[in-house]
């Protein structure tokens, strides 16, 4: 333990130098913690915004114009898959409708299905800004943009022209914010029966089965699995339809890794150069210790321990500073909140200590080459 004792004493007798180097490590680790958490949370937020309230995997008929004949066996395959979010499976029917009000008109996509399933995927109740979500016969739930454009509020009636030429008057039960302008203007939810009567389909016939899964990035595997288990259907999933988004996320992740790597390199160079200076400053002491019989390995360990102590102190400070930055960022006017991942923080801290230790290799090797004769005769 003598090398550790000497290392700590060397650090204590050069407090300014020790504080500077520990601060350097702390700033580096804090940057890593902050940038890493920021990018991870930003990505999670982007994924959540993009697909959080949409189906991840959709089972359709091979020909989109034809209905999908939904059987109990087919539903069971989807519903009992453990990767599927419980309850977030719903067979839907879709039809267009035209809403006109004097000069203004809008084309709506009416999605009809069971409220429980629709709510699990689209989170209608959670996203309600006015009214109470109900999807009984003659009810409709509309988006905020449409409601503004036509000055609609819960309780109001809307007259729709349907593709079969018929006109229906529906009652707005709730206005919801679906998270995207286009959806808020075009998407509306009705009971499953309305599109069926317009399309002239039978009771087991649907446009698709929509499902949300627990880990969105499992969608490719889930889709492949269902393709082999369900005959005569087409299965699509969000990842193949959002290749651009995935590329963007990957690029963002790569640039984040690059920033983190360069920060770590800068930290490593800082520690290595400061420790090298310290090794030069302590050459006399090392020479004297060696003259008294300290081995090269023991002498090298002094700088290894210095690096470890500085690494631990700097990393602890860096993690604290990183959390402080994240806390400060929580007051920034942005659309998402940063959630620091404990595993990522632990990884950053381990990297910080490891980089510090690696930085001591040069001074440690220099130390092992110090010749006590030169020191003694140099005076």
């Amino acid at each position: 333990m003598l090398p550790l004792k000497i290392a700590l004493r060397f650090l204590r007798t050069s407090p300014v130098q020790s504080a500077l180097i520990a601060t350097g490590i702390a700033v580096g680790i804090a940057t890593q913690v902050f940038v890493g958490s920021l990018i991870t949370s930003l990505q999670a937020s982007l994924v959540e915004q993009t697909i959080g309230s949409t189906p991840h995997v959709i089972v359709r008929a091979p020909d989109e114009a034809e209905p999908l004949k939904v059987t109990a066996a087919m539903l069971s395959v989807v519903q009992t898959d453990p990767r599927v979010e419980p309850g977030a499976v719903v067979p839907v029917r879709v039809t267009n409708a035209l809403l006109t009000d004097g000069e203004d008109s809008a084309t709506l996509a009416l999605k009809g299905g069971d409220l429980g399933g629709l709510d699990a995927i689209y989170r209608l109740r959670e996203r309600t800004v006015a009214g109470t979500v109900r999807l009984g016969k003659g009810d409709v739930v509309i988006g905020t943009t449409l409601a503004e454009k036509f000055s609609l509020a819960p309780g109001d009636s809307v007259a729709l022209t349907l593709p079969d030429g018929s006109r229906r008057t529906l009652r707005v039960t709730a206005v919801v914010d679906l998270g995207a302008e286009a959806a808020n203007e075009r998407q509306a939810f009705v009971d499953a029966d309305l599109p069926r009567s317009v399309l002239g389909w039978r009771s087991g016939e649907f446009a698709a089965i929509e499902a949300q899964i627990l880990d969105p990035f499992d969608s490719t595997a889930v889709a492949t699995d269902w393709r082999s288990r369900l005959r005569g259907v087409r299965v699509v999933e969000w990842q193949e339809q959002n290749a651009d988004l995935l590329t963007a996320l990957q690029s963002q992740a790569s640039s984040s890794y690059m920033i983190q790597a360069f920060v770590l390199i800068a930290v490593a160079l800082g520690i290595a150069s400061t420790l090298a200076i310290s090794a030069v400053q302590k050459t006399r002491q090392i020479g004297i210790l060696k003259a008294m019989g300290m081995s090269d390995a023991q002498a090298s360990r002094i700088f290894l321990w210095q690096a470890a102590a500085l690494g631990l102190a700097g990393t602890a400070g860096g993690v604290a500073l990183g959390y402080a930055l994240l806390w400060g960022f929580s007051f920034a006017p942005v659309q998402f909140s940063i959630r620091p991942e404990p595993s990522f923080i632990a990884l950053s801290a381990s990297i910080g200590v490891a980089v510090s230790m690696a930085s001591s290799i040069i001074p440690a090797r220099r130390t092992s080459r110090v010749d006590p004769i030169e020191v003694i005769q140099g005076g």
């Binding site: 003598l2 004792k5 000497i6 004493r9 060397f10 204590r12 007798t13 006399r284 002491q285 004297i288 210790l289 060696k290 003259a291 008294m292 019989g293 300290m294 081995s295 090269d296 390995a297 023991q298 006590p372 004769i373 020191v375 003694i376 005769q377 005076g379």
Partner: protein, 244 residues
């Protein structure tokens, strides 16, 4: 080949044709050339010579800080000439105490910690050797200074702390390189007297390297080195302090 730590048979150091050459070919310089002599356990001798005569090189080899190019060096019968660095470091720690012209104390540590250092390097626990360190400090008239930083002492005190440090592991020999070179007359006297006292009380051998003949005259034996060769090795009957 015996073990350097085994019981002494009277001879502590044996140097046989000890030679140290620096450089190679035409630029080769022979710093020490065929030095042959021995030092008995508990002997008190001086090594004298002008600067550049090779006395420091010889001292470095005797102190196991350097290895001879040719020749043999034995400590208590064990050949140490070809020993690797680590073994030499271990033996140095155990058998040899150094006192340099400059005190070479560690400024980051207290007087007591500096004195304890050779024992700590050997792997002892501070608590186990603290008593011995305090005794050694007392022997050197440094009681009460153990908690001070090495930088707070006078030149003479620093040199005495360095001597205490050299003695802590109770070495077989103290190699002192111009130990009084930086001290005034009074302190020079005091250090010399201390060496004598320790030599008598602890039986530690002393080899004092000096260019000061008055210091050398007070030892029991004087080895003189010139141009790397030993040119004189005489008993000095007048060097022994008067005994009552």
């Amino acid at each position: 080949m015996g073990d350097a730590r085994s019981a002494p048979d009277g001879v502590l150091v044996e140097a046989e044709a000890l030679t140290r050459v620096y450089g190679e070919g035409e630029t080769a310089t022979v710093a020490v050339d065929g030095a042959t002599f021995s030092v008995a356990e508990g002997e008190f001798l001086a090594l004298i010579g002008q600067s550049g005569s090779g006395k420091s090189t010889l001292l470095n080899m005797l102190g196991l800080l350097d290895t001879p190019t040719r020749g043999t060096l034995r400590y208590r019968g064990q050949d140490v000439s070809g020993m690797d660095k680590l073994k030499r470091a271990l033996l140095r720690n155990e058998l040899i105490g150094f006192v340099f012209q400059f005190h070479h104390l560690l400024p980051e540590f207290t007087v007591l910690e500096n004195v304890l250092m050779p024992a700590l390097i050997a792997g002892s626990h501070a608590a186990d050797v603290r008593e011995r360190a305090l005794e050694t400090l007392e022997l050197l008239g440094l009681s009460g200074l153990e908690g001070k930083n090495a930088n707070q002492l006078s030149g003479g005190q620093k040199q005495r702390v360095a001597i205490a440090r050299a003695l802590l592991n109770r070495p077989a020999i103290v190699l002192a390189d111009e130990p009084t070179g930086n001290l005034d007359t009074a302190n020079t006297e005091a250090v010399y007297d201390l060496f004598r006292t320790i030599n008598r009380e602890l039986g530690t051998a002393f080899l004092i390297v000096t260019h000061d003949r008055t210091v050398a005259q007070r030892t029991d034996r004087i080895i003189e080195i010139r141009d790397g060769r030993i040119v004189g090795d005489v008993k000095n009957e007048f060097g022994r302090p008067a005994r009552d």
